[in-house]
């Protein structure tokens, strides 16, 4: 049977004509925003060594990559991510300067078949490398704001978390793996057990119990601050608050203090963007000062990425619902 005449592999995405125009329009606006602010577009290679993703300590399983063996017998993967190869690019070519990069393109991630998931993901993003401290974050937040205003969805909600807050929390509790796991799943039942097992004072226990639902505006943040005695821990929250409340313009945002970094290179501000009609975040990012040192470049970095296929899906849903 000549199946190839009418079938496409399970991994392929459906070829659509109707939403390409929308995609290109959004992409065009984002490109204009990014380049206007001196973010240089880079065209990243489609192939990279599997080790780039597995050895850098980001816990990406090689089984999720599309791999082949190159002419030298080395394992090569289809581009799985933009941030990691960009860190390498910086470390090898732009060392010590402050660099602004933006990118547009697909990443390829193997998914189990028949789950309704896509293996081809279209991303657009910015990375600001070697602009440490609040200045870097403010710049990225301004970019984020412009980006959000260029995505034609009605109900985008931006959420901020702090990896520094969590790191200090894990230090105080002297236990990172377990508490991190509990917060990742926001398991109230397990959190109660965890508190029972430890000899925390009453106030600190109350703080921990609040975390799974510590989502809200500055009022919520202030309430959490009231429960914090540790100076360093309190400072991480004050830093977050100062950063966000000084944002100019309108912005539908909230804090989520129970936000756990999905990749462990995040060190400070964490960003997530949601829309009602997408089942996954449409924007992810933050400060990731731990990544560049892995490439022997001792510099900071901050950035975010828009997951444009989720944006397109949400737009299609919005249209259907209208």
């Amino acid at each position: 049977m000549e199946f190839y005449k009418y079938l496409i592999p399970e991994e392929s995405i459906d070829v659509r004509i109707d939403n390409v125009a929308t995609l290109r329009k959004i992409e065009g606006k984002l490109r204009e925003t990014f380049t206007k602010n001196n973010y240089n577009e880079v065209l990243m290679p489609s192939f990279d060594y599997v080790e780039l993703y597995t050895q850098i300590g980001c816990d990406i399983p090689s089984s999720n990559m599309f791999r082949f063996v190159d002419s030298k017998g080395k394992n090569v993967a289809l581009r799985y991510d933009f941030t990691i190869p960009l860190a390498r690019l910086y470390a090898t070519k732009y060392h010590d300067t402050t660099s602004r990069f933006c990118y547009f393109g697909k990443v390829y991630r193997k998914e189990k078949v028949h789950k309704g998931r896509s293996s081809e993901l279209f991303q657009a993003g910015v990375e600001l490398i070697n602009e440490p401290g609040v200045r870097g974050e403010q710049e990225i937040l301004a970019m984020l704001q412009e980006t959000v205003s260029n995505i034609p969805l009605n109900d985008i909600l931006i959420e901020f978390g702090s990896a520094a807050f969590l790191d200090r929390l894990f230090e105080i509790t002297d236990d990172d793996a377990r508490l991190q796991e509990i917060l990742k799943y926001r398991s109230v039942s397990q959190l109660k057990e965890f508190i029972k097992e430890h000899d925390f004072d009453e106030k600190f226990s109350r703080l921990l119990l609040k975390l799974p639902s510590a989502i809200g505006g500055t009022k919520m943040l202030d309430e959490i601050c009231e429960l914090v005695d540790d100076k360093i821990l309190l400072d991480t929250l004050i830093d977050l608050k100062c950063l966000i409340i000084n944002l100019e313009g309108t912005y539908n945002y909230q804090f989520d203090l129970g936000m756990v970094p999905e990749i462990d290179y995040y060190t400070g501000l964490m960003i997530k963007g949601y829309t009602k009609n997408a089942a996954k975040p449409i924007i992810t990012g933050g400060r990731y000062d731990k990544l560049l040192p892995k490439f022997d470049a001792d510099v900071s970095a901050v950035g975010f990425c828009c997951h444009l296929n989720y944006v397109l899906e949400a737009l299609a849903m919005e249209e259907n619902n209208d």
């Binding site: 789950k115 799943y185 926001r186 398991s187 109230v188 639902s213 089942a279 975040p281």
Partner: protein
């Protein structure tokens, strides 16, 4: 409105009872005939499905929360959810079970393990640094050792009476199982107040 998916069968019965105790009106659910989707006056919308399908609906954001056994969560590759509450019902555990001689037998070849939960079985033997062959059976997994298709099984054990009736016994417990309330991460953000209210009300029922 909160959209809810519940695993059909025993979990459905127990969860509905708990929701009723928590003060929700479940009459429309109790009176359903063949409808697959039920909306109540309390603003809850229910769908009922097989355990793994509950997870699939939740992954795609079709429902905000789901009620599903920890066994399903452990064996499913989808991991990106919140597990808000342990309902302490449907308690049982995963275990390796076999004929008693399994424990002392010296295996020359790879052990053959029959299970419906192949991921759980794989992870368990990996953690033991044991390389085994896993054979998937869809039900009556106890048949594996009986018909000599496998040396042992990995399965859910509740009372152990099926094992006993067939001369098998628990070799080792793997992990505890009970029914969990899970939430889609994005939907949770948009329906936080309602979901947390439901969780709090259910939590009180659990503690009673």
């Amino acid at each position: 409105m909160i959209k809810i998916a519940i695993t059909k069968g025993r979990i459905e019965k127990q969860v509905c009872k708990m929701l009723e105790k928590a003060g929700y009106d479940l009459e429309p659910v109790y009176n359903k005939k063949r409808e697959l989707m039920i909306t109540t006056d309390d603003g809850l919308q229910f769908i009922f499905g097989k355990a793994n399908d509950v997870v699939t609906f939740l992954e795609h954001g079709i429902v905000d929360i789901g009620f599903v056994g920890k066994d399903t969560l452990d064996d499913n590759d989808f991991d990106d959810y919140y597990e808000l509450l342990d309902l302490q019902i449907g308690k049982c555990f995963f275990a390796v079970a076999a004929y008693p001689e399994y424990a002392t037998k010296n295996f020359k070849n790879r052990k053959r393990i029959a299970s419906k939960y192949t991921n759980v079985a794989k992870k368990y033997f990996e953690s033991k640094k044991e390389d085994v062959e896993i054979i998937k059976l869809e039900g009556s997994v106890e048949l594996g050792p009986i018909v000599n298709l496998s040396d042992a099984i990995v399965d859910i054990v509740e009372t152990g009476s099926t094992l006993k009736a067939n001369g098998l016994e628990v070799i080792e417990k793997i992990s505890e199982i009970s029914t969990r309330l899970i939430a889609n991460k994005v939907n949770f953000k948009y329906n936080k107040t309602e979901i947390i209210d439901l969780v709090n009300r259910l939590e009180q029922v659990v503690e009673e």
